[in-house]
Symmetry: C2
Subunit: 352 residues, 2 copies
Amino acid sequence: MKKQAENSTGIREIAKRANVSIGTVDRVINNRLGVSAKTKEKIQKIIEELDYQPNIMARMLASKKVIKIAALIPSVSNETGYWNAPLKGINQAASEIRNFGVMVEHYFFDQNAKQTFINQADIILKKGYDGLLLAPMFEKESINFLARCRQHNIPFVLINSDLANQANIAYIGPDLFQSGYLAAHLSKYLISPSQRVLLVNISREIDLHHHLLKKEEGFRAYFEKENIVVDIDKIDVNETDYNSLQKILKQQFEKNRPNLVFVTNSRVSSVAKFFNEYKIKDVKLMGYDFLEENITHLKNGTIDFLICQKPQEQGYKGVMSIYQHLLQATVESVQYMPIDIITKENYIYYKN
Amino acid sequence: MKKQAENSTGIREIAKRANVSIGTVDRVINNRLGVSAKTKEKIQKIIEELDYQPNIMARMLASKKVIKIAALIPSVSNETGYWNAPLKGINQAASEIRNFGVMVEHYFFDQNAKQTFINQADIILKKGYDGLLLAPMFEKESINFLARCRQHNIPFVLINSDLANQANIAYIGPDLFQSGYLAAHLSKYLISPSQRVLLVNISREIDLHHHLLKKEEGFRAYFEKENIVVDIDKIDVNETDYNSLQKILKQQFEKNRPNLVFVTNSRVSSVAKFFNEYKIKDVKLMGYDFLEENITHLKNGTIDFLICQKPQEQGYKGVMSIYQHLLQATVESVQYMPIDIITKENYIYYKN
DNA sequence: CTGAAAGCGCTTACAG
DNA sequence: CTGAAAGCGCTTACAG
């Protein structure tokens, strides 16, 4: 490694040129009060001339400050391991920036119990953080929480699902409509026109449901736009246990046996289980997310396609975006995740 | 932001406990000579007890060192804009770590002129760097260059294509065999068994050719393994201009009109151009890389699938891996890129 | 409104 | 082989 070029920039050089002390320069750089307009202007001009960039390392070192970031996401349930991935991304980011004075703490809520969300939000606000990463699953409660964050001047990033007009630093997650749209496109490779499609929404909480409806919208929009005639049946399953699902599916298959089943979330593995149990081999199946149980069925051919949208990266980028923002960098405000298609052949190479 | 916990860790605390000066502690932390075995042992024990982690920011600040990283990759030619993406990734990484005392400099070589590679390698060695990112397109010359890097103790990362046994920090790029294998799998969605496939390798330099052959291997392996009978014709085109290609393709199509054409690299757009010119609409087409010219043909339906392997991320991760390694972190030594499938519907969301 | 001094946790000469 | 001092580029009290 080489010695740094003798930078005659830096706070000291600015002070010399402006004929003031470095303390005063520090005040204008950090927008602190107590500098006369004239001095301030003089210093700002020099800063611009020099294209001065503060040394972040020196700043962090001297200030002895630790950036504290809170992450509030659903806990991993035994119904779905989905949230493991974002958490992993959050932890990866945390470990990469730990040595730069950043501390990330996680909070979890139960997707089936709103109150846990409210409680955690309260704790976060009470403890005080410099930034927040949030998965706003409960719409109303999230909006309320974010309003309070704004009052406390806590900047925040939203991941996984978006909320309009929240003045968030960024949204990092899927474009749900397009995601469903792509799913419909993929069906082109699985079935022929005028065949029968069954769309399955599985979700207990109505609040989480609108998430799935956007995918459904996109799915239907494709066929309309492409002028493809298909029969789309739809069932909403409000219980997430296998038995309930099995009963409903059985009924549906007896009534209108589909050629393709599209499950709008990660619970596609339950449908695959149904396929296996009833030895259904001629019906195509697609759904969401790179989870062990889904991959198993992808491997053995029960599931044809999985769509995945980088849950781990959502967590990673979420934390990094807050960090960058706190470092005064500008951050892209909408970061849609790619819509990845996972098959039997490429799943080994998939990176969340 | 909150004050840092009064860490009684740190070099000073270690010195106190060991009853030595911080200078001596510094010596053992940095493995410098001139410490008695006894003192060294004593200090090391305390370091372990305290689980001491050096403060990187203080270290960088005090040492006044700049980490210098060189990147040697092909220049963007007007034949293909592919290398724009890795360069973009390199620059992104560079800008993110610039404020942490890292300087990344790029060097380019002409893929059609070996000598330019050799010249740049010499310059890099002469100037001296702390780390190197290399796209080892020319096999023999790269091996030679890397041997010299090892002599100079310059650690390096390989991107885009691999070289065996080079003691590189990491390889970051595609698994070529699997990439071809997946392409074959995708063909399942485009053609029926016993139809005819034309595989096209387009490359002027023989050195770059083995890259394509590995994809071809993977492609063929799929059909064998799955016991699918297809007729695979193959043509090698050693000129990259459209006219040469057009002539060869015309001939081939007259002789054995295929149902699917698979181009093993980013030059698939030239084949698409041929399709358009000759109004070929019933033949499927797939190839590589997210380039403007390819996307155009994907949009209008001439190209059915593009396979892409995150060229930008290769550059980004390449630089970051060197940086992490220089910071004493451990780095994953093989980082295969995901094998992404790009279609008309999802290309908007693709992130290199 | 402004300045001078101490200190963040290290590294780097220099002295012995 | 070891120590004491200066300094990296900032921020933070404190004094005026």
